[in-house]
């Protein structure tokens, strides 16, 4: 797949290195964010206070990378004036890291809510559905980042197609939590916290979907935002 875009075949070796460098930074940022989400989920399910604090600390590194990547892209745009696939790479990176940074913010929310639940001596362990949603979102993010590294349009499309499953899981959890709150008003506080976590996971799913749309833009040259699955299928058909 990667060879289709020939990212490393510029006459200017330095340009090849610059593109490689910025792609590596994005992968590094993706790795950190993925770690944050994994930790957030673990902290939530295990009521792990220490882990919850660590996520908040890691967010600084993610934010710093966002700034560094933006600066690197600005330099490449100013000095290389990239065109065609190189230009699409720059645009997709600048858009991708915004979503990555927001995924990091959502992971921080998971951590903060985990800490509060833990203060009250609760964990989200009893919510099987939340664990399912968390694992599903985590796996999707991992797949999206791999697709990004491999410029794999097929997997990116699969993820976009499956986003509605995450939305459905979120709706399920919301319904369950409402029932729980109606049954026992003393549970409202914690049920709301679980609900915010579910919402954060659902948002991570949306950001992951956005990243997949940028992968399609980069690889296929088609802007597929705000399109139905069927429209996207037609646009990216070779």
């Amino acid at each position: 797949m990667e060879n289709d875009l020939h990212l490393g075949q510029h006459i200017s070796k330095r340009f090849n290195e610059e593109l490689e460098e910025v792609r590596n930074l994005v992968m590094k940022m993706g790795g950190l964010v993925e770690q944050q989400v994994r930790s957030g989920l673990k902290a939530l399910l295990a009521a792990d206070q220490e882990l919850a604090k660590k996520i908040v600390e890691e967010d600084d590194a993610v934010n710093a990378l966002e700034i560094q990547i933006d600066e690197t892209c600005t330099q490449i745009l100013a000095r290389r004036q990239p065109a065609a696939s190189d230009l699409r790479l720059m645009v997709s990176i600048i858009k991708t890291i915004t979503d990555l940074e927001r995924i990091g913010d959502e992971a921080v929310k998971l951590g903060k809510n985990a800490a509060k639940l833990s203060d009250d001596g609760k964990s989200a362990r009893q919510f099987v559905e939340l664990r399912h949603l968390g694992e599903h979102v985590n796996e999707t993010l991992n797949k999206a980042l791999t697709a990004y590294a491999r410029l794999d349009a097929e997997t990116a499309f699969e993820i976009i197609k499956n986003d509605k499953v995450i939305d459905e899981e979120f709706d399920n959890i919301s319904r369950l939590l409402i029932t729980k709150m109606m049954e026992d008003p003393r549970e409202i506080k914690n049920a709301l916290r679980i609900s915010w976590c579910a919402r954060a996971l659902e948002r991570i799913g949306d950001h992951t979907k956005n990243i997949c749309e940028y992968i399609l833009y980069l690889v296929k040259g088609e802007d597929v935002r705000h399109n139905t699955v069927e429209e996207i299928r037609n646009k990216i058909a070779d």
């Binding site: 075949q9 006459i11 190189d86």
Partner: protein, 278 residues
């Protein structure tokens, strides 16, 4: 790969070119070229190229050195007639008129299809006489007042009048490079052409003079149809509405400029505009 020189890399024969991808025809074509072949003696410089120049648009012809883009441009007002070993085949039309028809006077054709060259080439005459030269030989002005009007309006259209209005008698060669190029554009406009061909009109100019010329091209397209050959991809991206990519005498790809520079279809186009090895 990296051992190849740039020219070798860009002219590698590995990729087979089969026809042209993209859109070569225009709904409202000012000039239509079909199956054009050009030979210099035994050597074929243009291989079966078909394309339209859309009316009141700027069409950029790009490609590596020796790809045939200038040769093709020069066919459009029969500049190649001056080269004895050059032979042009195919159908080349301005509106519905065959520009290679035997009865057609190439001098009259060149008044309708003007040309601006890479190096500004004002005549060793006054600014006024440079612009007045064409209208005089074509008898476009009945008297001095009419000629004055043509000279002034041509200089205005070329964006030069304000800078030279007090010294129309000064030699054209005394102007700066950018001004000289605009003088040549004024000279071209003075004979009321329909099409203006530009062969790297800004490659000898500094960035500011270049920006002025590019701004002028954008204004000129309201009245004229323009074809421009340029080595600067950024310039092609800035000034043109359609872009044609030539490679070793073939027209590889043609399309809207916005598409060519963001999502070209052919691998050779992509390689060229992104600076990659073929």
């Amino acid at each position: 790969m990296s051992d190849l020189s740039i020219t070798e890399a860009l002219t590698s024969d590995d990729i087979v070119i089969e026809g042209t991808v993209g859109t070569t025809t225009a709904e409202d074509a000012k000039m239509s070229m079909r199956n054009v072949n050009v030979f210099y003696g035994d050597k074929q410089a243009i291989k079966n190229v078909s394309l339209d120049l859309a009316r009141n648009q700027v069409t950029a012809l790009i490609g590596p050195s020796g790809c045939g883009k200038s040769t093709f441009l020069r066919c459009l007002n029969r500049m190649n007639d001056t080269i004895p070993i050059c032979r042009v085949e195919g159908e080349l039309k301005l509106e519905e008129q065959d520009i290679y028809a035997k009865k057609l006077d190439p001098v009259l054709l060149r008044a309708r299809v003007g040309m601006v060259f890479q190096k500004p080439n004002p005549f060793p005459k006054s600014i006024y006489d440079n612009v007045a030269y064409g209208p005089r030989i074509h008898g476009l002005a009945a008297n001095r007042a009419e000629l004055d009007e043509i000279v002034v309006s041509s200089l205005q259209k070329a964006g030069l009048f304000g800078e030279v209005k007090d010294r129309l008698d000064a030699p054209g060669t005394g102007l700066s490079g950018g001004q000289q190029q605009r003088l040549c554009i004024a000279r071209t406009i003075a004979v009321s052409p329909e099409v203006i061909l530009m062969d790297e009109p800004a490659s000898a100019l500094d960035p500011i003079a270049t920006a002025v010329i590019e701004e002028l091209i954008d204004e000129l397209k309201e009245k004229y149809t323009i074809a421009i050959v340029t080595h600067s991809m950024q310039q092609a991206a800035r000034v043109s509405q359609a872009t044609a990519y030539f490679h070793m005498g073939h027209l590889v790809e043609m399309g809207k400029t916005e598409q060519i520079f963001t999502n070209p279809t052919h691998e050779l186009t992509e390689n060229y505009i992104t600076g990659r090895f073929g």
